[in-house]
Each structure stands twice: as structure tokens, then as C-alpha cells.
């Protein structure tokens, strides 16, 4: 077992997944907090679905979408991009599963931002995008950081969707969570135990960081 490789791969994939989920996550959080448009409830529900659906079910839906013959996979295949059973599938599963937590946290943060500042910026000639980037986001920064940490933490522990679309290929798609299951299932309890220890340590650091961010945000306000 290469605990170091598994750990580095998992943390790297979770970081990448966080980067991938941030742009759509912030945009969706903003639309849900400030937008008034048809389909708002539908968007809200669709984004939150992975939170309440069995992760394995979400994984099966993703598999159907990005498989070479699926609606998204078919578009990527001519460009030579394969997702299923590669590291990209790991990142995709992590991003989709982390997105609802990011969106919910950031949305709540944006709803806390006083609209008077946004109105003042608009009277100063700032269009909606500039208001979002220069006023709303900076004022909601503690929530953005907290949401990113939550999304990252969720990504680290992702199992169900990952095993469906990425499998458990040693050295290629095997993450901490998947490896723990694989080792435990084959009776290699000592290896599984080591990985559990590593997972706990990473989770501890992430939670401590999250708490530090939120107390710092509170003391600033």
C-alpha cells in the first residue's frame, strides 16, 4: 500500500474539485440569493439533490451523463476526453457532491449582505456583475471561505459517487475513502486503520481551519 500516494491524490483531487465547484457555486448562490426568475425553485432543488439522494444514485446519474455514449460523454469523446474510470471522474464526483454545501453556505452569506451597499454601488454606475464581484462577494467573504472549506471536506470523504464513476483503481482513481473500503473488505485491517488515521487528521485540520475562519470573520464584523 502506498499511503502517501493515496493521501496526496485524494487531497489534490479535493483541492481541484473545490476550484472547479467555486465558479458555478458562487454564481448559483448569487442567483438563488438575489435573483428573481422562473425556475428558481427548480435550480435550488436540482443543486441540493446530491445532498439528499444516495451518493451511489448520484454516481449512477453522472455515469449515465458522462459515459462515452451519454449526452455529455458523446460531446467530449471527439476531443479525446475520457472521464469514466479516470482521475477526472474522481474530481467530477467530488465537485458535484460538494457543490450543495458550498452553495448553501455562500447563499446564506450573501443573504446577510446589506442590500443598501449593492444599491449604492448601482447608483455609482456599477452593473450587476461588478456589484457582485466588488461589493457582494467581499462582504460575504467569511461565508465563501467557510463554504469552500465545507465543500472541500465533503469532497475528501466522497465515496458513493466516486466508486460508481471512477472505481477503485490503485494508483489511478483510488481515494482515501475508497481505499479504506477496499482494504477493509479484503481483510487488510492494518492498512485500512492507517488510512482512517490519516483521514481523521486531515478532517481535523480542515475543521480547525473552518472554525478559525468563522471566528476571525465574526471578530472583524
Amino acid at each position: 500500500m502506498d499511503a502517501w500516494q493515496i493521501t496526496a491524490f485524494t487531497v489534490g483531487a479535493a483541492c481541484l474539485a473545490t476550484v472547479v465547484m467555486l465558479p458555478p457555486g458562487l454564481l448559483i448562490a448569487w442567483l438563488l440569493a438575489r435573483g428573481s426568475f422562473r425556475g428558481r425553485i427548480l435550480l435550488d432543488t436540482a443543486v441540493s439533490l446530491p445532498l439528499v439522494m444516495p451518493p451511489v444514485a448520484t454516481g449512477l446519474v453522472l455515469l449515465a451523463l458522462v459515459a462515452p455514449r451519454g449526452p455529455i460523454g458523446r460531446l467530449l469523446a471527439p476531443a479525446g476526453i475520457e472521464i469514466v474510470f479516470t482521475w477526472k471522474a474522481v474530481v467530477l464526483a467530488m465537485a458535484v457532491m460538494g457543490l450543495p454545501l458550498l452553495v448553501r453556505t455562500v447563499r446564506a452569506g450573501i443573504e446577510q449582505v446589506d442590500r443598501r451597499y449593492e444599491a449604492a454601488a448601482a447608483t455609482l454606475g456599477a452593473g450587476p456583475l461588478r456589484v457582485f464581484l466588488t461589493i457582494t462577494l467581499p462582504l460575504a467573504r467569511p461565508a465563501v471561505l467557510a463554504g469552500a472549506v465545507l465543500g472541500f471536506a465533503r469532497a475528501l470523504g466522497e465515496f458513493g459517487a466516486t466508486i460508481m464513476i471512477a472505481g477503485s483503481i490503485p494508483g489511478s482513481t483510488r481515494t482515501l475513502a475508497v481505499a479504506i473500503y477496499s482494504f477493509a473488505e479484503t481483510g487488510r485491517d492494518r492498512e485500512a486503520g492507517v488510512l482512517v488515521g490519516i483521514s481523521a487528521a486531515i478532517a481535523f485540520v480542515a475543521l480547525a481551519a473552518s472554525n478559525w475562519i468563522s471566528t476571525r470573520g465574526a471578530s472583524r464584523a
Partner: protein
């Protein structure tokens, strides 16, 4: 010149305004609850009337019949709200420069000198006093080269002594920059001191005009 002819309903309150403001400085005067702030919000595009038209300097910014509703950021209206809403995460300098428009002739040093905020530029917003906030908010609005300046109770948050000190700044803005001003107040002496015309509002309607 500002031409207002609109109706706006919120709950049981009805605002029914039909008035042309043609003087450089107009005071909207009336008791609280008369709808003064709502009128400013409608001019700035922050609140949408149910029906009617709003024109600023002959440019129609709202016309319910024609489906025109120019968004706030394209109306070029400087608005100093009652709470001034300085951006708390920026320095005074960044606040003042936030809305600077290309081709704006007024420079940061000039506006800072006029409103005497030179010494405040590197301060953070929470460090400012009420009177300082008012002047910074005024400078910020002026730097966006507004075609019209809306001031909502600019002197309400400051005590009588500071009031006496801020009024001259407003007079300077009026005399040096020649930006038309619509000024909301519930203080008659304040209205008379600055304004060329006083429009009296009561329960959502214009009840009186004093030249």
C-alpha cells in the same frame, strides 16, 4: 429638469406623484411617512412604480406604457441615502473613486479639497464620524459625474453644530458644480436655506409648492 408622473403602491400606501422640478435645487419636504424617500428611490431606479413615467433632463428613464425601465447603474444619478452606505470593506479613497466615470472633470484632489476630506482618504470607514461619512458619501456621489444629485436627509444624522458646518459644503456643490439637486428633509428651515423651490408631500401626494 425632472418630470415625475407616476403611481407606486406598497401595501396600503399609495404614492401618486405628478410634478415637474425645474429649479436647480428642490427640497422635498413633509412629515415622515409622506413618501419622500420612495420618490428618490423611484428616480434612482431602486423601486419600480406601478405605472407612469419618469424623465431626467429630458431622458425618459421609466415609462410603464412603453416598457422602459433604465436600470439604476445607467441612470447617472448620484444618491446619498440617509444611511450613506459607505462600503465598509474599502478605504475612504476607494469609496470615493468607486464610481468615477471616464471623462469626469472633477478630480480626487479637487473634490477632497472642496469637501475637506483630504486627511481622511486613507482611513477605514468604521473610523469616521457621522459628519465625515456625510462628506465622503457626497464626494463619492459627485465623482460619478451625476446628472442629478439625490440627497436623503443629509443632515439628519448629525447634531445642530455639525449641521451648520455641512450646509456650506452643500452650498458649494450647488454653486460650483451646478448639478441639479433633489433634497429630502423634514426640517423647514433647512429646506428654505438651500432650495430654490420647496415641494410639500403629504400621504403620498404633492400638496403644495413654494417658490
Amino acid at each position: 429638469m425632472i418630470a415625475l408622473d407616476f403611481r407606486l403602491w406598497q401595501g396600503s400606501f399609495t404614492l401618486d406623484i405628478s410634478v415637474r422640478l425645474e429649479r436647480p435645487v428642490t427640497a422635498l419636504f413633509g412629515p415622515s411617512g409622506a413618501g419622500k424617500t420612495t420618490v428618490l428611490d423611484a428616480i434612482a431606479g431602486l423601486r419600480t412604480p406601478g405605472s407612469g413615467t419618469i424623465a431626467i433632463n429630458d431622458g425618459v428613464v421609466f415609462d410603464s406604457g412603453a416598457g422602459i425601465d433604465v436600470p439604476t447603474h445607467r441612470r447617472h444619478v448620484g444618491y446619498v441615502a440617509q444611511d450613506v452606505a459607505l462600503f465598509p470593506h474599502m478605504t475612504v479613497r476607494r469609496n470615493v473613486l468607486y464610481g468615477r466615470r471616464d471623462g469626469q472633470k472633477l478630480s480626487l484632489p479637487a473634490v477632497s479639497r472642496m469637501l475637506e476630506i483630504e486627511g481622511l482618504l486613507d482611513r477605514k470607514v468604521p473610523q469616521l464620524s457621522g459628519g465625515e461619512r456625510q462628506r465622503v458619501a457626497l464626494a463619492r456621489a459627485l465623482m460619478s459625474a451625476p446628472e442629478l444629485l439625490l440627497l436623503d436627509e443629509p443632515l439628519a444624522a448629525v447634531d445642530v453644530e455639525r449641521r451648520r458646518r455641512i450646509l456650506p459644503y452643500l452650498e458649494r456643490v450647488r454653486d460650483e458644480l451646478r448639478v441639479p439637486i433633489v433634497y429630502v428633509t423634514h426640517d423647514r428651515s433647512e429646506a428654505l436655506q438651500l432650495a430654490d423651490e420647496v415641494v410639500v408631500l403629504r400621504e403620498g401626494r404633492v400638496v403644495e409648492r413654494e417658490p
